[in-house]
């Protein structure tokens, strides 16, 4: 699974951190998304896809 984030789109909602904090974080200085793991294992698929689905800025893409 391959995850990409678009910091231009990100509005710092932090929803992805609540969904999968092993994959996403927020930067201290501006609260924007910080991708911790661009290739999470398949068993993290549900939470990572949920993070992408709830992102209010549609800033997260997930490819299998």
């Amino acid at each position: 699974m391959k995850v990409t984030v678009d910091q231009e789109k990100c509005v710092g909602a932090g929803q992805c951190v609540l969904a999968a904090d092993d994959v996403f974080d927020q930067r201290d200085e501006d609260g924007l998304v910080d991708l911790l793991n661009p290739s999470p294992s398949d068993d993290r698929g549900t939470d990572v896809r949920h993070a992408a689905a709830v992102c209010p800025a549609a800033a997260i893409s997930v490819e299998d």
């Binding site: 509005v11 710092g12 909602a13 932090g14 929803q15 951190v17 609540l18 904090d21 974080d25 927020q26 201290d28 200085e29 501006d30 609260g31 924007l32 949920h50 689905a53 709830v54 209010p56 800025a57 549609a58």
Partner: protein, 404 residues
């Protein structure tokens, strides 16, 4: 836009604080974007279907400002979400700057770090309620927990003295009032003056809090004017407690009237609390209008043409009960398979306090289920006093756990 005779008049009367007007279901199906007359008597579009509400919230062709504010449709006589706000020409840049300033202070990680503190406060409030219940037999969870916790947290985050809580809570209540006419706008002026006083008291000795950060930022940025800053501080203090107080109340009512889900939470507070909180966020419907937007250009959508400058009321309440999105949409069911909702909005204006609210709600409902498993309402839901404000909610939550 002319006012056609068949225009629906808002607000749609609702049966009680937990249910919506049945008419919303018909609108969602037959006229997802319907011409309506606002409580203030002006024309607007009411958007009720999940798909369109979500789409429009994420669409930059709609904003909170208006090209000619004097001509803009007014929504209500309250002093919040009543008409356009901000500068039409610079709205996007102003909003982006505001988000940049505030996002770090409300990040998910920081809110999580506060959860132990929230937990300690909550235990203290519950200790006091348990002691009071020993003698009184019935206690008010609104005054004992739902109100003080969010207030204490927002005071700490913003750097507002907790001793002022009765003052700003009363101002918030009046500012959101829908049945007091001009009084709501007077309250907004008073709130503004209170905030100016607070800011100037803090200025010589700025601390580590959001209002101090905003004062520093305003001093360093000529595009950020003083009045804008004060308004923003008022908005944060208003929205930062009012909303969560209401949501705790609605959550208690849902759980007390859906006993099987309360029992399930009691059986495993840690394991169930997240799902319970999300369902409270989906189904809780404070107030009865929605989020306000104005079209920045002409837009064709869902069979209607929205003209530049038209007002839209995006009904979060109706969208969150859309039968095309949720199975048994009107039922309170934390175990439902659907995990998303629009309770915190969507898009660029997504609630900045979402992580704060979620953390507070998780702490509160986990603690209630663990400590007061026998709790039940001491009054029927229909007898509870509902507030006549834009944000709705109840002003009392009488509960008991004395054996009947």
């Amino acid at each position: 836009m002319s006012i056609a005779p068949e225009r629906l008049q808002l607000p749609l009367p609702r049966p009680n604080v937990l249910e919506l007007a049945p008419l919303y279901a018909l609108l969602r199906r037959e006229a997802p974007i319907a011409p309506v007359t606002t409580p203030a008597g002006d024309p607007a579009w009411l958007v009720t279907r999940f798909e369109e509400v979500r789409l429009l919230l994420g669409d930059k062709r709609f904003g909170r400002s208006h090209p000619n504010p004097d001509q803009a449709a007014r929504i209500s006589t309250a002093a919040v979400q009543d008409g356009p706000t901000g500068e039409y020409e610079t709205e996007e840049a102003d909003h982006a700057r505001m988000r940049r300033l505030l996002t770090p202070a409300f990040s998910a990680k920081r809110m999580r770090m506060l959860s132990d503190h929230m937990g300690q406060l909550t235990e203290g409030y519950l200790d006091a309620l348990v002691a009071e219940h020993e003698t009184a037999g019935v206690v008010d969870l609104h005054h004992g927990l739902a109100f003080p916790l969010p207030v204490a947290m927002i005071c700490r985050l913003l750097g507002v003295p907790e001793a002022d809580r009765e003052l700003f809570a009363a101002l918030s209540e009046r500012m959101a009032g829908t049945a007091i006419g001009e009084e709501a706008h007077q309250a907004r002026e008073e709130f503004f003056r209170y905030m100016v006083g607070l800011i100037e008291t803090k200025r010589p000795d700025l601390g580590e809090d959001v209002i101090s950060d905003l004062v520093r930022a305003q001093g360093a940025d000529s595009a950020f004017d003083y009045e804008q800053m004060v308004r923003l501080c008022v908005g944060l203090l208003f929205a930062g407690h009012e909303t969560t107080v209401n949501r705790i109340g609605l959550g208690v009512l849902f759980l007390m009237t859906n006993r099987e889900h309360w029992d399930r939470l009691v059986a495993d507070p840690q394991g169930h609390v997240d799902a319970v909180v999300e369902e409270i966020m989906r189904l809780g419907a404070p107030g009865d209008l929605g989020l306000l937007r104005y079209a920045r250009e002409d837009v064709d959508i869902a069979g209607v043409t929205i003209a530049r400058g038209d007002a839209l009321i995006l009904s979060i309440n109706a969208a969150n009960r859309d039968v095309d999105v949720y199975s048994e949409a009107e039922a309170f069911d934390p175990d439902r398979p659907e995990r998303t909702h629009l309770g915190f909005g969507h898009g660029a204006h997504f609630c900045i306090g979402a992580s704060l609210a979620r953390t507070e709600l998780r702490v509160v409902f986990e603690a209630l289920a663990r400590r007061l498993p026998e709790m039940r309402l001491a009054k029927d839901v229909s007898e509870l006093e509902v507030r006549e404000t834009l944000t709705g909610g109840v002003s009392e939550l009488p509960v008991t756990w004395r054996s009947a």
